[in-house]
Amino acid sequence: MKNKCIYYLGPLVGGTVFAIGLGVSGMLEPKKVIGFLNFFGDWNPALLFVMVGAISVHFVLFRVIIKRKSPLFDSQFHLPIKKQLDQKLIIGAILFGAGWGISGLCPGPGLASLVTGSKYVFVFVLTMVVGVVTARTLTQAIEKRN
């Protein structure tokens, strides 16, 4: 991390490109998200191909990149180390899926859509932040007690 400016160019460009990808893909349109999740109704499979496109590209590039000793601007890669499947993973995914199906928004599109100034998006992001803080506080309290 010798040059801070170059280091922060990574997340700045990364975030910008990510949001443009969200926009092009249709992920910023909650109606399409609900259409995709409406599997037993008027199903719109389009958003399945967002995952197909993203995984195809990242699956290959991940393997090429990870062969390096380190990333360009840091001394090491920061990859998740947890391996075991636990209750928290399942319970969290169930709650997240329910929230996604209710609102048509997940965290990335929610945050990106703030630029539209919509009150729906504002309420979503506000309650999402409350949810994150509540979950973290509860988890820490439970871990302390055990």
Partner: protein, 141 residues
């Protein structure tokens, strides 16, 4: 529909490139819920890149809005209160389950992480059941 699928593939490819860019430049996984959580509970030396990424996300959305005219269109049969409940569940769920569509769905599956595969299948099924209940039993929320 065909145009939607084409855009989804291209947009998805761009998302995959962005995630790869994050990995090669600063060695980080592009999981938006985790990046957000880290800004809410800041740790020294592990916060600024998150804020820069989220600023980039806004910048990208702003650029997309300028060039492609993006307006947020709410879902007809969901109230503001429902969206608030949805946001709360997304915040709780992604934090308890350590990830969302980007971290588990894109990055995790690309790494062939069993945890991410299980999480992604679970939140997809949960989302499908939720939409089924809202659209077919309740007629809206």
């Amino acid at each position: 529909m065909i145009e939607d699928i084409g855009n989804a593939l291209i947009g998805g490819g761009i998302i995959g490139l962005a995630a790869s860019g994050m990995l090669i430049s600063i060695g980080r996984i592009t999981g938006i819920s985790g990046i957000l959580a880290g800004t809410l509970f800041p740790k020294k030396g592990d916060t600024v890149w998150r804020i820069v990424f989220l600023s980039g996300l806004m910048l990208g959305a702003f650029v997309f809005r300028i060039f492609w005219g993006f307006e947020f269109e709410s879902i007809d049969n969901r109230s503001l209160i429902a969206v608030g409940i949805g946001g709360l569940l997304v915040g709780l769920g992604t934090n308890i389950g350590s990830g969302c569509t980007s971290g588990h769905g894109v990055c995790g599956i690309s790494r062939m992480s069993p945890r991410s595969l299980v999480a992604t299948i679970t939140f997809m099924i949960s989302g499908i059941i939720t939409v089924f209940i809202i659209e077919h039993a309740l007629g809206g929320l």
